[in-house]
Symmetry: C2
Subunit: 424 residues, 2 copies
């Protein structure tokens, strides 16, 4: 047994290689209600104005602004969703509710708080139109949204590449879009490999442990909007591994395997991938997670991405975040698929690794009192960073990018961090 | 028509009222695979150690450390998932792979890179055990994870209240938990009210507009892990509104209505809620979104929460984020359900409102060069903040908390902001 034939790659260089391999799939047209978190594949322009009519901003009275304050007969009312069948002539007003179309003749709205009803004629007297006292003097256009005020005809509502959050979904609904062209949600097949692995619910035999990588990665993929294809656990026999990999390549855009990628006799993934596709790299200069294979394999006219992640739970999740998550996002149509990078202030001293850059797991929160009261992101280490110790990922929402060198970074030092979860 | 009978409440006071009304439901026990993003309802302790046996950290040779370097016969091999049926006596070694149980007799592992195979006897000579040259001197325990190194028996794996992200799901799998007690995902019924509203796919008649609030709120609820119950569009007739509200109260924990909460004749929501439950407040001192009703109604032995949100698209979404989102999170079991508050640096001057505090929509990103190179969150306004203009929510990931006063905040000023989306 000798040194690995795969050169050690820097993580950033590796990520460039991964992203360069990704070709966007054809968009699909789906119902708006199903499009949350998808990336828009076409620019959407408004084909009609919003509002489509001059609309009242308030509950009140539609008036002729030039009439000014005074007592006026109420000649009718118009509510949202109705259109007035009368004209507001000078010297008259009409009751109007928020969102209702301004009746013809009127050019402004006086809100109800600036008005007072005038007492009706005593009972028995001849009925006449009710009368209102308009107290405010308004100018033409007051409390009226003109046609196209919110969205003009032809206006760009959302650009291609926009991510459809709640407001973006609402904007599309606003302009009447019920079906929308978006990029498909990437399908991600997940396989654990190792004779020692059993499902979480099953009892452990001698030498066995529970498989945690598959449920962990499945949750991470789902959080990113991927569709999980569960390939189960493959033993360390070449045939069962090859069959599971073949199924993953058929059914998914991305295949994640974990385990079987270091240097022992049972490292079957690299040779397998080498025989059916192109292995782009096999080792990363990083801690945790040095052994990490990336390959592409052609299937059904599409280039599938395969990540052979390390078997250690922390290493597999960290390498997934660093390489797999940006790949998934790019395949989903994200224009900037990389993890968000911020600067954080260390809450405690951290010892550096002289041999490899380390992605140190931390919980980052906003601390308002830091930096002369301007506030800063404060990073607390999750503790013992052993790559087998998944507890070091508990509550972690950031990977601190610690430089490769001797020594200790003091508390208060500023380091960059990649966000892998919400700041809470 | 007169002034509203409901006093103007500060948003923070309103939120306190809302959160105080929430009673946590009974937990449910569900499969781990379905528990992502749920909140754990019980503290989980490890019932067995991880690893459950002394495990090799490397591919290499199980040795007796006291033997030191030299040439040794390989008496067997042990791979992950297998248990050796032999003992490593002093003067012998066994091949071992990462994660495999250390054979009896051995007390350390020498990684394969520190070894070299010794040439086999020439063909035809008598077969003997293969021999390996161990180059490194190691101490007892080297490259071995002792029993319980990652997780000790009885150790707290996750506390009650933990949110189940990918790592937390993995931790539960690690300790063999296949079913987990979590709080149910809140069910949120969503109703739009207004005679002027039609579905996004339908053509507009005179005086009509497309309903955007329901799809917007549905996406926001789904993003927070809520289960959406779509109540459709109710017209402005009391009977249809009452029927929809009754259905929402039957089927959901939280009911969101939008529209019909300001002061006109057609404001039917408040009287309806007042007749069937308790209206806790009806107006908020804020911009956008002044009219906002919160009520509780008892149904099926549970206290249902009802938010009568404003009809303007921006107002309804902003008030949902300020009050509904924390309510949903608390009901889902979050210990700190409030939106994350950070300080941001204004990218441009912003005019203040002298009458109401404003929640100004902004896109916040990390800008590494700010604040002497320590970096800061930079906030760019989304532009025209009209409450009807949903474009002002496009790409917004923060609500800037602008104080109520005269004047302009200059570019570079620090203000607090509530995060409503990821920092990208």
């Amino acid at each position: 047994m000798t040194e690995s034939i795969y050169p050690m790659l820097d993580v950033e260089a590796a990520l460039d290689i991964v992203l360069a391999q990704i070709v966007l799939p054809d968009p699909e047209r789906i119902p708006l209600a199903a499009a949350r978190n998808r990336i828009l594949a076409e620019t959407v322009y408004a084909t009609s104005p919003l509002p489509p009519f001059p609309a009242s901003v308030k509950d009140g009275y539609a008036v002729v602004a030039a009439d000014g304050p005074g007592e006026f007969p109420i000649i009718g009312e118009v509510t949202a969703g109705r259109v007035a069948d009368f004209v507001v002539k000078p010297g008259t007003v009409a009751y109007i509710t928020t969102g209702a179309p301004l009746p013809a003749g009127a050019d402004a709205v006086v809100m109800v708080e600036e008005t007072a009803m005038v007492a009706s004629p005593a009972h028995g007297q001849q009925a006449s139109a009710p009368t209102v006292h308009i107290r405010a003097r308004v100018t033409a256009g007051a409390d009226v949204r003109p046609i196209g005020y919110d969205v003009a005809v032809g206006q760009e509502v959302l650009p291609a590449g926009a991510r459809l959050g709640p407001a973006e979904v609402g904007l599309l609904a606003t302009v009447g879009v019920a079906q929308v062209a978006v990029y498909p949600a990437p399908r991600v097949a997940i396989l654990s490999s190792g004779d020692e692995l059993v499902e979480a619910g099953a009892p452990l035999g001698p030498g066995q442990i529970h498989d945690s990588n598959r449920p962990t990665l499945a949750a991470a993929v789902a959080a990113l909007g991927g569709v999980v294809v569960d390939l189960g656990i493959a033993g360390d026999a070449q045939a069962s591994l090859a069959a599971a990999v073949a199924r993953g390549l058929e059914e998914a855009d991305i295949l994640l395997t974990s385990g079987g990628v270091s240097m022992g006799n049972l490292d079957l993934i690299k040779p397998l991938l080498d025989s059916i596709g192109v292995v782009h790299f096999g080792r990363l200069r990083m801690k945790p997670g040095k052994p990490c294979t990336f390959a592409t394999v052609a299937r059904k006219g599409r280039r599938r991405l395969v990540f052979g992640l390390p078997g250690n739970p922390v290493s597999s999740l960290v390498t997934f975040y660093l390489l797999g998550a940006p790949a998934l996002r790019k395949l989903a149509g994200w224009e900037n698929p990389r993890l968000t990078r911020v600067q954080v202030c260390l809450g405690e001293p951290l010892r550096l690794d002289p041999y490899r850059p380390e992605y140190h797991r931390a919980t980052v929160r906003w601390e308002a009192s830091l930096h002369e009261g301007r506030g800063a992101l404060l990073a607390d280490s999750t503790g013992n960073q052993a790559s087998s110790r998944l507890l070091s990922m508990r509550s972690a929402n950031a990977l601190l990018e610690l430089p490769q060198r001797e020594g200790v970074l003091p508390a208060g030092a500023i380091v960059t961090a990649l966000l892998i979860g919400e700041i809470l």
